[in-house]
C-alpha cells in the first residue's frame, strides 16, 4: 500500500503572485490529508518556515514535485526558479502567472520606469515628496543592503527555466490539483513533457450550458452591469464580451456559471501560438457591420481591447510586451 512507498517530497513556491494559488492548494480542504499521507511538504513559504538557504542546501533532484506559482518579476523570483529547477524532478508552472504571465504580466504594457513613477510618485495614497525610488543596492552604516532588483519585463516561468508541466488557472481548480497529484502517486503514465495538465483539451463553450446559436452579429459590446443578462443565452450573443470561445476549459465554467463572462485565465488550447490574437479573431468574427465606421463603433465599445485579449497571457504571447 501507499504507506509502504517512500513519501514524495513536495514544494510550493510563489513568484510574482497574489497568493491565490497558494490558497488554492489549501482549498483542497480535507484532501490535504490525503496528499500529506503520500507526501511531505518540504518548502512552502506561505505555510512553512523554511529558508531559501535550506532549499539551496537540499541535494539536486531531491524534491519530487515543485508547484511554482506566480510570474517572474524580479531577481529573487528568477533565482528561486533556477534553484527549484535544480532541486526538483518535476517542475510545474502552477497557475496563470507562472504559465503565461497572468495579471502581473499586464505590467508589460508599461516599462519599469512607468511602473515606478506610478507607484513611487503618482499614487494617490503616497507621500513621497522627494520622489525616492527603491535602490537594489544601498550602503548604510550597518553595512551593505540589497533587495531583489525589479525587472522591466514580466516573464513566464518557462521563459526562465525548463518547465515540465503547466497547470493553468487563476487560480487553478483545487480538484484538478488533487487529481494530478493522485495520478503521480498512483504511478499513472505521466503526460508528455511540456503538456498543460489539470485542464480540458477543449475550450470553455464545450462545457458552458448557455444556449448558443449561429446568430452572433454583435453591433456593440456591453460591460456586464450595462445589460440584464437573461441567464440562458451565450454571453457574447448578448454583447457581453466572453473569452470562452478561445479559452481552455477545466475550471468548470466557473465564471459563466456565476453569470460573469470568462476572462481567459486558463489560456489557449494546445497548438495555439498566441492566445490574444486567437480570441481577437473569434470576437471580430462575431461582429456585424460592413462599413469601417460601423465596425469601429462596435470596437469602440470594447474597453481596452489589448488588455482584454491578453489579460492573462501577455508575457507568454508572441509580442511578449508593449513594443515602445
Amino acid at each position: 500500500m501507499a504507506q509502504d512507498k517512500p513519501k514524495l517530497k513536495l514544494a510550493v513556491y510563489w513568484g510574482a503572485a497574489c497568493g491565490g494559488c497558494c490558497v488554492s492548494v489549501l482549498d483542497v480542504h480535507e484532501k490535504l490529508l490525503d496528499i500529506l499521507a503520500h507526501a511531505d511538504l518540504v518548502f512552502w513559504p506561505i505555510a512553512l518556515d523554511i529558508k531559501y538557504q535550506d532549499v539551496e542546501q537540499m541535494p539536486d533532484q531531491s524534491i519530487d514535485i515543485t508547484l511554482f506559482n506566480g510570474a517572474v518579476r524580479n531577481s529573487e523570483n528568477e533565482h528561486m526558479a533556477h534553484v527549484l529547477r535544480r532541486k526538483s524532478r518535476i517542475l510545474v508552472a502552477y497557475g496563470s502567472c507562472a504559465y503565461l504571465g497572468g495579471i502581473p504580466g499586464l505590467a508589460n504594457f508599461y516599462t519599469k520606469e512607468e511602473v515606478f513613477r506610478r507607484v513611487y510618485e503618482e499614487s494617490e495614497s503616497l507621500d513621497n515628496p522627494q520622489k525616492i525610488h527603491p535602490l537594489p543596492e544601498n550602503e548604510v552604516t550597518e553595512g551593505h543592503l540589497h533587495i531583489p532588483s525589479f525587472y522591466n519585463d514580466v516573464l513566464t516561468l518557462a521563459q526562465v527555466v525548463d518547465v515540465d508541466y503547466f497547470i493553468p488557472g487563476c487560480p487553478p481548480q483545487s480538484e484538478r490539483l488533487v487529481e494530478v497529484f493522485m495520478d503521480i502517486v498512483n504511478g499513472s503514465d505521466l503526460p508528455l513533457k511540456g503538456s498543460v495538465i489539470g485542464a480540458s483539451s477543449k475550450v470553455q463553450c464545450d462545457e458552458c450550458k448557455r444556449k448558443k446559436s449561429d446568430k452572433k452579429g454583435i453591433t456593440r459590446f456591453y460591460r456586464p452591469w450595462e445589460v440584464t443578462d437573461d441567464g440562458m443565452t451565450c454571453l457574447n450573443e448578448q454583447g457581453i464580451l466572453c473569452m470562452g470561445p478561445a479559452t481552455r476549459a477545466g475550471c468548470g465554467v466557473r465564471c459563466v456559471e456565476g453569470n460573469a463572462p470568462c476572462r481567459g485565465c486558463y489560456g489557449p488550447l494546445d497548438g495555439i501560438g498566441d492566445a490574444g490574437t486567437r480570441i481577437l479573431s473569434a470576437i471580430a468574427s462575431m461582429l456585424d457591420g460592413k462599413e469601417p465606421e460601423e465596425i469601429n463603433r462596435a470596437i469602440d465599445s470594447i474597453v481596452d481591447p489589448a488588455g482584454t485579449f491578453y489579460r492573462f497571457s501577455l508575457p507568454g504571447s508572441k509580442l511578449r510586451r508593449k513594443v515602445s
Binding site: K216, P245, L269
Partner: protein, 661 residues
C-alpha cells in the same frame, strides 16, 4: 520552428529564357537553395515548363528519392497545374509541391538585380520552409452537368449556342431583350464584304429557335447563380410580355387593332428614328416572333381604361394582362457570357453637337437610315426629309480620348468606311472622313480602305475640334461646320456639311458590373470582363466553368466575336466531354475532438457549408459545398478548423521562411 526530417526537397529555378534570368541571378539562388534544410537537390534550367524541364523532375525524383518539389518560376495561376502534374508523374503526391513566383512578383517588376535576387531567395526559402509541412491530398472529382447556359443573344451568343447544341448538348439561351439578334440585327451591310447583315444573321436566329437542343428564354435575365464548375444553379427571371409566348404566332393583328391608331412612341430598334405602338414587335424578323406590350406606354397599364382592342383582335387568346415576372431555376454545368457592349453615348462629347443639332447622327442611327428595312426604307434623308449633299464622318467619338474612353474601339474605322461607302452609294454626297489613325487590321480590311480611297471619299487626318452652326461665309450658311486640324497639310480646316455622322465607340454594357457580380467574375479597369489570361486563356475567366465571348470581353467586330464564341463553345464542350471536374482540395474541415460548438463559424460561411450537429454538439463542414476561402478557419477560437493547402502551420512556416535566414 518544428522540423520534418522526412522531407527531401528537390528545388528547381527557371530562367524563363531571359524573363527571369535577366533580373534574378538564378545560379546564385540555386546555390543558395542547395544549402537550405531539407533540400537534397537544387537546379536551374532554361525553361522548367518545357518537356525536358518536367522530365528532369521525374528523373531526379527517382534518383534522389525526392518527396517534395519546389519550382521557382512564373505565377502559380499560370503553371501550378503543370508542375503539380509533373510532381504526380514523378510518383509524388501532387500537393507535395510548392511554386514560387519570381517572374510576375520579382523579375518583371523590379529594376535592381541584386535586390530582386535577394527577394527571390527569400521567397524560395519560404516555399521550402512551407512545402516540408505539406500533406498528401487527393483532388475530388465531381461530374459535370452537360447542360450549358448562354447569356446574351447577340451574334456571339447565337454562334456559341448553335455550336454547342450541334454537339448534342442542351443549351439555355437567355436574352434580356424581347428578341435575339443583338446589334448585328440593326446593321445593313457588314464590312468588308458588304454582305447583308440580315441575310447572314436571320437564318441563324431561326436556327436557334428551331433547334431542339436550345431553349430560348427571351426577355429574361439571370437573377442569381450558385454552385461551382460543373454544377451551377441558376435563377432566370422572365419579364412579363403580357402575351402568352406559346400562343402568339406573330400575325400582328393586335398591333393594327391597338387603340393608338398612329404609332407614337420612340422605337428602340430604329434608334428612335421612328415610332411604335405600346403593343409591338421590335422588328419583322424578331425571334421569337412574339409581340409584347410596353407597360410604360400602354393605356391599360397607365389608366386601366382601355377597351383592350388588341386582346380582342387576337383570335388565339394570347393576351394576359396579369402576367408577373416569373423565376425559373436551371441546373447547368458551364456558363458562357456573351453580354455584349453598349455604344458610347454621343451626348458625352458635347463639342460634336449631338442632341443639339438635329443633323448630327450617331453611326448606329445611320445604320438604320441606310437599311432597306429601316425607318426611311433605306432612303437617306435628314430630319427635314432633304437629302444630304455633303456628309462628315467623325471617327473615334468617345474613343482614344483621355476625357472619355482611352481605348481604341477597333470597329469604328471599318464601319465608318462601310458607312462612307453606303452613304456615297445612297446619296452620292461628298463624304469626308475625319480620322486620327486609320486602323484596318483584318482580312480584306486594308483592301476595303483602298477601295474607298478610289471611290472619291475624302479623308482628313486629324481630330475634330467641334461641330457648330457658326457660319463665317455664305458657303457655310445653313450648314454644320466641322472644324478640324488637317495634320497632313498642317492647317485648321472648316468643312461645312449637311450631315454629321459620329462614329461612336464601344463601351462595356451598362449592366456589366451587375452581371459580373452575379457570376462572380472580374472586370478589367475599363469595365470589360476580365479573361483569365490575355493570350493563353482569352475566353476563360477566373471562375472555373464560366467563359466569355464577344464584345463583353473587349471591343470586337463580328468575325472576331464569332471566332471567340467558337473558342468559348469548344472550351465548354471540352469540359463537358471530360465528364467530370477536379476540385482543388483546399476545403476546410473541423476536428470534432476540438470543436466546442460555439457556432461562431456557421454564419461566416457564405455557402451554408457549416451546420451544427445538435446530438454531438459540434459543427460540421460539408466539404462538397465548401469552396475553400478559409474564413471560418481564422475565426475558430479552438483552432479546430483546418484548411487543406492553407494550414496554419504551412502559412506560419512561410512567414518564418520569408523573414528568417
Amino acid at each position: 520552428m518544428p522540423i520534418n526530417d522526412e522531407a527531401r526537397v528537390g528545388f528547381y529555378i527557371c530562367h524563363c529564357g531571359h524573363n527571369i534570368a535577366n533580373m534574378v541571378d538564378v545560379t546564385s539562388v540555386a546555390e543558395y537553395a542547395a544549402k537550405l534544410p531539407n533540400v537534397v537537390l537544387s537546379r536551374d534550367y532554361k525553361y522548367m515548363c518545357s518537356d525536358p524541364g518536367q522530365e528532369m523532375i521525374l528523373k531526379d525524383a527517382e534518383v534522389f528519392k525526392l518527396n517534395r518539389i519546389v519550382v521557382a518560376s512564373c505565377s502559380p495561376l499560370l503553371h501550378e497545374n503543370t508542375f503539380r502534374n509533373a510532381t504526380a508523374k514523378a510518383g509524388i503526391n501532387q500537393f507535395y509541391f510548392q511554386m514560387v513566383n519570381i517572374r510576375e512578383n520579382a523579375s518583371w517588376v523590379h529594376e535592381d538585380k541584386e535586390l530582386a535576387t535577394v527577394k527571390a531567395k527569400d521567397l524560395v526559402r519560404a516555399a521550402i520552409s512551407r512545402v516540408v509541412f505539406h500533406k498528401a491530398l487527393e483532388k475530388k472529382k465531381v461530374p459535370v452537368n452537360p447542360d450549358v447556359l448562354i447569356v446574351g443573344g447577340g451574334i456571339s451568343g447565337i454562334s456559341a449556342a448553335l455550336n454547342i447544341a450541334n454537339a448534342g448538348k442542351k443549351v439555355y439561351l437567355v436574352e434580356k431583350d424581347p428578341t435575339i439578334g443583338g446589334y448585328m440585327a440593326k446593321f445593313d451591310k457588314t464590312f468588308p464584304t458588304l454582305d447583308c447583315a440580315a441575310c447572314i444573321l436571320t437564318p441563324k436566329m431561326s436556327a436557334v429557335l428551331k433547334h431542339p437542343g436550345i431553349t430560348l428564354m427571351s426577355y429574361s435575365e439571370v437573377a442569381a447563380v450558385e454552385g461551382y464548375v460543373g454544377n451551377y444553379q441558376v435563377k432566370v427571371t422572365r419579364k412579363p410580355r403580357y402575351i402568352i409566348e406559346e400562343k402568339c404566332v406573330g400575325c400582328f393583328a393586335c398591333i393594327d387593332a391597338c387603340i393608338f391608331k398612329e404609332a407614337k412612341f420612340s422605337d428602340e430598334f430604329n434608334e428612335g428614328l421612328s415610332k411604335r405602338k405600346p403593343v409591338y414587335i421590335p422588328f419583322p424578323q424578331a425571334t421569337p416572333q412574339v409581340v409584347l406590350i410596353d407597360d410604360k406606354t400602354c393605356i391599360h397599364f397607365k389608366t386601366g381604361k382601355c377597351p383592350q382592342s388588341c386582346a380582342k383582335a387576337c383570335d388565339r387568346n394570347a393576351f394576359d394582362f396579369d402576367q408577373k415576372p416569373v423565376t425559373q431555376e436551371l441546373e447547368v454545368g458551364t456558363i458562357l457570357l456573351c453580354t455584349g457592349f453598349q455604344p458610347f453615348d454621343a451626348a458625352r462629347a458635347p463639342y460634336y453637337g449631338y442632341g443639339r443639332y438635329p443633323n448630327v447622327y450617331t453611326s448606329l442611327e445611320v445604320e438604320r437610315l441606310v437599311n432597306a428595312s429601316g425607318p426611311t426604307g433605306g432612303n437617306v434623308v435628314l430630319r427635314d426629309k432633304t437629302r444630304p449633299k455633303s456628309i462628315g464622318i467623325i471617327h473615334c467619338v468617345g474613343s482614344r480620348d483621355e476625357k472619355t474612353n482611352k481605348w481604341c474601339s477597333r470597329v469604328c474605322c471599318m464601319y465608318s468606311l462601310k458607312l462612307a461607302h453606303l452613304l456615297k452609294e445612297h446619296t452620292d454626297a461628298e463624304i469626308y472622313n475625319f480620322y486620327i489613325d486609320m486602323r484596318t487590321p483584318g482580312k480584306g480590311y486594308e483592301e476595303f480602305y483602298d477601295k474607298l480611297l478610289n471611290e472619291g471619299v475624302h479623308f482628313i487626318r486629324g481630330r475634330v475640334a467641334e461641330v457648330s452652326d457658326w457660319a463665317i461665309n455664305e458657303h457655310e450658311k445653313g450648314k454644320l461646320v466641322i472644324r478640324a486640324e488637317d495634320t497632313l497639310i498642317g492647317m485648321v480646316r472648316r468643312i461645312p456639311v449637311d450631315m454629321v455622322v459620329l462614329a461612336v465607340g464601344i463601351e462595356p454594357g451598362k449592366d456589366a458590373q451587375d452581371i459580373r457580380r452575379v457570376f462572380n467574375i472580374s472586370c478589367s479597369n475599363e469595365g470589360f470582363f476580365l479573361e483569365r489570361h490575355p493570350k493563353l486563356a482569352p475566353v476563360e475567366t477566373f471562375t472555373d466553368g464560366i467563359f466569355i465571348a464577344g464584345a463583353c470581353q473587349g471591343p470586337k467586330d463580328i468575325p472576331d466575336s464569332v471566332a471567340q464564341a467558337g473558342a468559348a463553345a469548344a472550351q465548354a464542350l471540352a469540359l463537358i466531354d471530360s465528364g467530370f471536374v477536379e476540385l482543388e482540395p483546399n476545403t476546410a474541415f473541423i476536428n470534432e475532438e476540438l470543436c466546442c460548438g460555439c457556432q461562431v463559424c456557421i454564419n461566416l460561411c457564405p455557402y451554408h457549408a457549416i451546420t451544427f450537429d445538435e446530438t454531438k454538439s459540434v459543427s460540421h463542414i460539408n466539404e462538397a459545398i465548401c469552396k475553400g476561402c478559409g474564413t471560418c478557419v481564422a475565426a475558430c477560437g479552438s483552432g479546430a478548423i483546418t484548411q487543406n493547402l492553407f494550414e496554419d502551420q504551412q502559412i506560419l512556416s512561410e512567414i518564418y521562411g520569408l523573414l528568417v535566414e
